[in-house]
Each structure stands twice: as C-alpha cells, then as structure tokens.
Symmetry: C2
Subunit: 342 residues, 2 copies
C-alpha cells in the first residue's frame, strides 16, 4: 500500500496512491490525515488496503480518483511527534569522523548512534530548502526511514520488526559548518540539523517484496546532484544495525508513539575498498557531499567538491527491479531564506 | 489564563481552569485539545480568555463547571511536535560537568546549550514514572518551560518574546547512569532522557504578574523529595539566557511550529557561594539530585545521596507571592517498569 499527504493545513490530507504512482484518491471516511490513520492503525490499515486494491484494479466502484502529482504533496507526515535518526551505516560514520580527525570507537559497531531530530516542520518532497547562509555548509543526506505504530518501552529486537508499518526516503538536511561547534557542546546536533524532508509516498513493507528482508531495504538508493548521478549505494549493504534493532534501541527507556519516524542514517557502501569510491571513479558513489569531500581529501589531500550553494538541486529516489519508482522522488533546490536576521 | 488537558485519548481534552485551581470547564466549542487551540491561537485565545473570566467570576452563564483535580490531568500537551530543552542555568552545567571532571568552556556563557528531547509520550503530572532499572541512575530535573505559537526561522531575540504564549513546570527525568556513554557518542542524550512530565496547568505569562519580567520567572521553584524540602531555587536568578534568547536560539536554522515547548534546563542558584548549598545547610537547595551529589563530593569527598529508588517521590510546584499554587503540582513516584526486556 502507498500513502501520501496532499498539502492542506498543518497535517495535510491523506490520500491512497496507486502502485504505479499515477493515480490517487482521498479517504476522508477512513482518516483525514496520515497521523489519524496511524493513531488507529489496526482499524484503518485494512480499510486503506481495500481502497488501494480497488485503485490498482481501476475499479469503477471507486469515485474521486485523480492524477497523482508529487509536487502537490507535503511530506507524508508534515509534522510528527518523533523523528529519531540512527547512523546505521558505520562506513558513513568512519568517513565523517575521519574528516574531523576523530576515530570510530569499537562500540560504534555494537551500539547504534541515534539522535533526536526536530519533527515539527518537515519540508515537502518537492519544496525548496530555504536556509539563511551558504556559510553553514549545506549538505543533503539520503536515507531510509520507517514509521512505527505504538511501540512498548523495552521492546526487544526480535519483537520490534512487527511495529514497522511504513517506509519512506529521507533528505536529512545537514549544516556541516555548524556541526563541529554543536557537537563540541555535547548536547547533539540541534542547530546543525534543520528541517528534513521525506519522499512523497510512504509504503507498507510488503510493497518492497523480497527487497525487504531482515528489516533492511536491499535496493540502491539513487541520488542525483544537479542532475548528475552522485550515489547508487545499496541500502541493504553495510547496514550494521537493521531497522528492528534501531526501533528497539529507540524504545530502550521509553515507549514510542504511533507515527514515530526512525531513520537509517546516510546510506553508505564500502564497495570492497577502504571507504568506497565515487561514481566517476567507477563506484556506487555517496549519499551526501561530506563523504565525497573526505574521499577527495584521502585521495588528493584536499576536498574539491563544495557544499551546496543556493540554486543547487538534489534528487533522491529508489527504483524497484522493474525500474519503477517506489516512493516517488525527493527533488529539492536550496534557496536563500530572506527572513534570517544574523 | 490557565489551561489543562483531562486524560482522554492521545491528546487529552482541553479545559479552562480557574485562577485558584478549584474549578474547570470544557470548551469543545472553542477547541477540543490544547494543540488545536495553539494551531489557531490568534482565534482561540480571546475566546478562551472570555471563558476564563467567566469561570473566575463564577458566572451563572457558564454551564458545566466541575471541580478541578490535577490527578485527572495529562500533561497540558500529552504529546507535542517539539520539546527542546535548554540549559540556561550555567551553575547547573558547571556542577554536573565537575562531577564528570570536565570544564565549562567560556562559550557556554554566551551560546546556549540546547538538546532536542522526545515529545511523543509525555507522562501525566501525577502519574508514576515507570523505568526499567534503578541502575540507570534515575534523577528528576525541575525546570520551567514555555510554549510558543508559530515562530519564524531566524527570529531575533528582541522579537522572540511575543511568541511565548504559555508557561509550565517540567520534570525532565534524567538517567545519570546512561548519560556519560550517550554523550560520549556525540549524538546527544537520546536513551538517557526518557519521557518528561509537565505541570497539570499551563498559564499565560500575564498570570505571573510582575514575576514575569525580561522573559524570566522571578519566583522560587519548590522541589520536595520524599516529602522533604529539597529545592527552593529562584528561577529568575542565575538564568544566563532568558526564554526569548532560548526561543531565538531554537529557531536559528528552522521555524518552530505552534505548540513547540522550550525548556529552561534545571533551575540552579549560586547563592553567593561557589555553587550554592543544600536547604539543610541553610541554602536554597537544588532542583536535581546530581547537583546535591556534586556538592557532597566537593564538601566531603564523596556523594552520599543516592539517585532515585523505586518508590521515591518528587513534588515540583511554584507558589505566587500569596502562597497560591500557580501551575498545580507535579507529584510523581518512580516505579519499576515490568515490561522491560534487558
């Protein structure tokens, strides 16, 4: 099943989207918003599935079907009660820490990294990313995320997978220039992680077929930067902690409420090399600029790719084995925010 | 104006509470939940104020008035889209860092500390705090928090105060035993900050009269631990960053959505000494156990007060100059969570 939220008010208007992303239909008789659907998921999910089947079969019983347009969408949850982002691809962690000349402790391979993100103001999948200054070191991070139903505190890993109800793609916008000072304060990323954006469509795990295995998505994550291929890393490879583990980690000391979003962290492959290689070097590339800069530094002594300038564009999408887009595309341009004061 | 949320469903049922906290009335014709009221604050606030005036005047025009009972309340926002907690009392920061043998950088006096907290599962003000293990080093932290309306990204400090719509008290439950390992990972407190709780009642700033000045609350915060006075620190003293500054800090790289909660951090006074002193030593005491343990360590070489055991109880309240409770009391007991797996 595929779900999205048309832009409307603070929480959007829930729609069911056809498997081929061509058509959609509103479902106000089931739930007005995706959060409302998740709040009563056991009750709403089978009803939404029925609509989804009818939509895919182009049933004449289904009234009000319209053309699906990703640019009319907010993020599936335009605001959420929780966004907690892991960093499950330790290759990414190794690279960004190398850039700061810090080592990866052994514990990072056994104890997940996770930060609490801001969840009150997500950006739409095709909306501009407005930020106050290029000096902040604007970067994208292409990731996968899951949405859970209610998860009890202390859920063990082997019972966590069943709480994963939806999957999405993420652009976890990062401000590399602000990260070192924020992390030095010891309280996490706060100002260095502005509003994130998610794919137009959230899908139930069964939509991935055999590509959803062991709570990982075994497909390449396509990242294009200014319309050039930039990353094709396989999200199923080098994922040290799967989503069941990340959900269990998040719920260690508290319950998670329905609609909690848990992210994978930047997808990153080692590609049988020390840290992978760029597409231009024959590799699968990267899912953020910071990694490319580090590879450039390792290979040539200096980074040559700059962080994003106003006008730069990032496109994040995942295709199934038939080349069909699963989630629709995150397609965003960074622009200057004019209201900023300092 | 004073507002609260009766326990009902995920978001509670909004009620207006009389100034003396004795009576209350539902307002479904204005807003069903506090979040709904905040989403349309410019429209709902004057209507809620009208009800509040009638309630205080015991107007016979007002139907459905009932006795207010804090134990029937959830936190004013039972779940929220954002909970960001500052650490504006740098004396607290100095003390807890001394306990870890780390210095306070000069920048901590000019650049606020702030972490993103989990906001999806707040605990009711009179509800038990259920946690998996005493080994986690369970502590309370008594704080003040503000609730904002929509705040634009980049709002300067001098325009931030007007976005503060409500005030509450907070018990920012902290797991001292988990904090060092979490902070060492560099991603913030995550597992070491379980669900927080807030006072039964949220109040508009005008309720504080002259005690609300320069975006600070100039009143003692009363903390009793196992029914003994533990802290009477004045929230208006030694607050290095006022709430306007904290809101501006939170909004530096992103907008804040209506219903955002911004915390002060643990209220802590220096009391013309190096770091203050306990009530039993004639001082105003502390707002968390960690500070007392540090003072004990400084004074005697070892901490003697242990962190909370199952059955221990904390009471947090603020009285106005007439001795009347402003927010009602947070009154909670720590109990063992039986569902925890590890």
């Amino acid at each position: 099943m595929k779900l999205a939220s048309l832009k409307q008010g603070r929480d959007g208007r829930l729609i069911v989207v056809s498997r081929d992303l061509k058509s959609a239909v509103e479902v106000p008789h089931i739930a007005g918003t995706l959060q409302q659907a998740l709040d009563l998921w056991a009750e709403t999910e089978p009803k939404l599935q029925d609509v989804y089947q009818q939509l895919n079969q182009q049933s004449s019983d289904l009234a009000g079907v319209f053309e699906f347009r990703p640019q009319d969408c907010a993020s599936p949850l335009p605001r959420a009660y929780q966004w907690a982002d892991g960093s499950a691809y330790v290759n990414h962690v190794e690279l960004v820490r190398k850039a700061r000349n810090s080592e990866v402790p052994d514990s990072f391979w056994t104890d997940p990294l996770m930060y609490q993100g801001g969840s009150d103001s997500f950006i739409g999948p095709c909306d501009d990313i407005a930020l106050g200054s290029e000096e902040w070191g604007i970067d994208f991070e292409a990731e996968i995320a899951v949405v859970t139903d209610d998860v009890p505190m202390g859920v063990p890993e082997d019972q966590a997978a069943k709480h994963i109800q939806l999957l999405m793609l993420v652009n976890d916008v990062s401000l590399r220039g602000l990260i070192p000072a924020e992390l030095a304060k010891g309280f996490g990323f706060f100002q260095s992680k502005p509003s994130s954006s998610f794919s137009p469509v959230a899908v139930t795990p069964d939509e991935l077929g055999p590509a959803w295995e062991n709570s990982k998505v075994h497909l390449p994550l396509n990242v294009d930067y200014n319309r050039q291929p930039f990353g094709r890393a396989n999200a199923g490879q080098d994922m040290t902690f799967n989503f069941a583990r990340l959900v269990s980690h998040a719920a260690h000391t508290r319950p998670l409420s329905a609609g909690t979003i848990i992210g994978s962290g930047t997808v990153s492959n080692k590609q049988n090399t020390e840290h992978g290689s760029a597409i231009s070097d024959g590799g699968v590339g990267y899912s953020c600029i910071a990694e490319v800069r580090m590879i450039e530094t390792i290979n040539t002594g200096a980074a040559k790719t700059s962080f994003m300038h106003f006008g730069d564009q990032v496109h994040i999408e995942m295709l199934d084995s038939d080349g069909q887009s699963i989630f629709g595309a995150i397609d965003q341009t960074v622009v200057e925010y004019k209201g900023h004061q300092s």
